[in-house]
């Protein structure tokens, strides 16, 4: 008799879970390193993290066709989870090129930083690959709690603590709401598996509706959809800038993942309501984000509002609620994660210059003082705005086309208005950097790693805009697969 028959349970297929295991082990190693060494060598910590993440990334890339479920259906590996995880790990590796110099400059070198980063990455990876409410809840907490602490990790800086506290309270409310939604879904179907819950057919659907509303309401707070966005600008502005970059890229992918998994499943019963509610929220979100960004004097805060506006565009794609919309949304999400991150990372480098306060005036004539940074920032801004050769144009066009296909003209037209408004603040920065004359100033020089990462990201923004098929060939089957569930 085999062991398997003896214990009468299925042995989990760990092969599907290897990337997460590697990230988890990396986190534990970093945690022990921080405990063992009184003065942790930060180069060592960064090397360990990069090696761990690279191993996980290589495993994922070489086993990209890995499919299946493990842990009794708790954990699903499909092309959606693999695609999102590849981007999350890549962006985290890129981020590590920027953190050390910044933290040294701000005198905020903490050993906690590294393992919190890997635990939040792990949470994001799990969020991208589960249909189970319990696992989604735990992963949400893992990402969020790491983010609260990372936001507060700036020595002697009050705004950082203030942002962290606001994030904590609103984040706690979001988690409470999402788990309250889980209660109602559980009462409705007696299961935590979203596929089972949403395909369950009971005559009385009131618990299902209540549950979905609460669950998605909680996720909406996490994403920063407009009536519930209060924490976002403060947390983004207060956080150390590399962390802001991390939250606006990896965090955004992670929090959107469960929404994108739920979206195809609810269309059978609630298509019309979904289109109306999500469409309205999307319009409010991108209009508000763009108009408020227009009047910001602080560039970091401006980019935070621009991040809200981009959540709005993503939601506009989600409101189309068919496979075409979902393709546009996934492409948008992945491309935005690169350009949003690049924008904040440029700020992270520039903040190391003396007397730099992220004010608009600081950018006057940046081209003359530090041409390289000005060009990289200009590419990021033009991509956020959506100028043709960059990927920003392509993704906005994709969203607009899917809106036209879904006959959501009102959302499409208002989206064009929103993009028009956003011209104001993106182009103003570009004009300030390139047209304005100002005497040369001492601007921080990026290190070799930083230079290489920024060039890589800027080039990938152009390549993804010119050759969309590179990514599209993976996205297209993914979104159709999600709709077949």
């Amino acid at each position: 008799m085999e062991l398997k028959d003896l214990i009468q349970i299925e042995i989990p297929k760990l092969a599907l879970f290897v990337p997460e295991l590697i990230v988890l082990i990396t986190g534990f190693v970093l945690f022990s390193l921080d405990l063992i060494y009184k003065r942790l060598s930060h180069t060592l910590a960064i090397s360990v993290s990069v090696i761990g993440y690279t191993l996980a990334l290589l495993y994922l890339v070489f086993n990209f066709d890995l499919r299946g479920e493990t842990f009794y259906g708790l954990y699903v590996r499909d092309s959606f989870s693999s695609l999102l995880q590849v981007f999350m790990i890549l962006l985290t590796i890129i981020l590590l090129a920027f953190t050390l110099q910044y933290q040294r400059f701000k005198r905020s070198l903490y050993g906690e930083f590294y393992y919190l980063l890997s635990f939040s990455l792990l949470g994001g990876m799990v969020l991208a690959s589960s249909y189970n409410l319990l696992l989604i809840y735990i992963a949400l907490e893992a990402v969020s709690v790491s983010f609260y602490i990372l936001t507060a990790l700036q020595r002697g800086d009050f705004t950082s603590k203030e942002g962290a506290f606001k994030y904590l309270i609103l984040g706690g409310l979001a988690i409470a709401l999402a788990s309250y939604g889980a209660v109602f879904l559980y009462i409705y179907a007696g299961s935590f598996d979203l596929r089972h819950v949403l395909h369950f057919n009971a005559p009385d659907k009131s618990f299902l509706i209540l549950g979905l509303v609460f669950f998605l309401f909680g996720l909406a707070i996490k994403i920063g959809v407009v009536p519930f966005h209060f924490w976002l600008p403060d947390a983004y502005q207060g956080a150390p800038t590399p962390i802001t970059a991390y939250m606006s890229s990896v965090g955004k992918i992670a929090f959107f993942a469960p929404v994108l998994r739920v979206m195809p499943l609810v269309q059978e019963s609630f298509h019309n309501t979904w289109v109306l509610v999500v469409g309205t929220l999307a319009v409010i979100t991108f209009l508000y984000g763009n108009f408020v960004a227009l009047v910001q004097k602080d560039v970091k805060r401006m980019l935070a509002y621009s991040s809200i506006a981009h959540s709005g565009y993503i939601l506009a794609g989600v409101s189309v609620a068919n496979a075409i919309g979902l393709k546009a949304v996934i492409y948008f999400l992945l491309a935005y994660s690169i350009m949003g991150m690049l924008g904040f990372l440029v700020l992270a480098v520039l903040e190391r210059s003396g007397n730099w306060e992220n004010k608009l005036e600081d950018f006057d004539g940046l081209k003359h003082s530090q041409g390289f940074m000005a060009w990289v920032f200009a590419i990021a801004l033009l991509s956020l705005l959506g100028i043709p050769p960059t990927v920003g144009f392509l993704i906005k066009a994709l969203i607009f086309m899917s809106l036209a296909y879904g006959k959501l003209w009102w959302v499409g037209i208002l989206m064009i208005v929103g993009v028009g408004v956003s011209t104001g603040y993106y182009l103003r920065l570009v004009v300030l950097m390139f047209m304005k004359e100002r005497e040369r100033r001492a601007i921080a020089n990026p290190t070799g790693f930083e230079r290489a990462s920024m060039v890589l990201m800027a080039v990938s923004l152009l390549i993804l805009g010119i050759l969309p098929m590179l990514l599209w060939n993976y996205i297209s089957p993914t979104s159709e697969m999600l709709f077949r569930r």
């Binding site: 203030e162 506290f165 409310l173 935590f192 502005q237």
Partner: protein, 102 residues
């Protein structure tokens, strides 16, 4: 045998949840705001346990255990942040958290 119906659990939990959210909005003291979020999470626990006794399953209680553990994590982090705020400035009211105009 069910002595307490599901509705009773749900009414209690909705009241508690409402109290928590209300506290988050009304209270000004930082620690009190943190306590209010814990109240809301405990309301979820009651609802889960009630759902379990209604359905005759155990999964909800497992979820409740996880919520208890993670609520403790959140409280620890929250208190840490409050201490850090208090060390930088002697602030204990949310009215004074307005450095960024938010």
């Amino acid at each position: 045998m069910k002595i307490v119906p599901l509705e009773a659990y749900l009414i209690l939990s909705v009241l508690l949840f409402g109290l928590g959210v209300f506290g988050m909005i009304v209270r000004r003291n930082l620690v009190a705001i943190l306590m209010s979020t814990e109240l809301a999470l405990n309301a979820v626990n009651i609802a889960f346990v009630g759902a379990d006794s209604h359905l005759g399953l155990l999964d909800g209680q497992i979820f409740a255990l996880f919520i208890i553990a993670l609520a403790a994590v959140e409280a620890a982090v929250g208190l840490g942040i409050i201490v850090a705020i208090f060390r930088l400035r002697k602030v204990e009211s949310s009215d004074e958290l307005t450095d960024m105009g938010g």
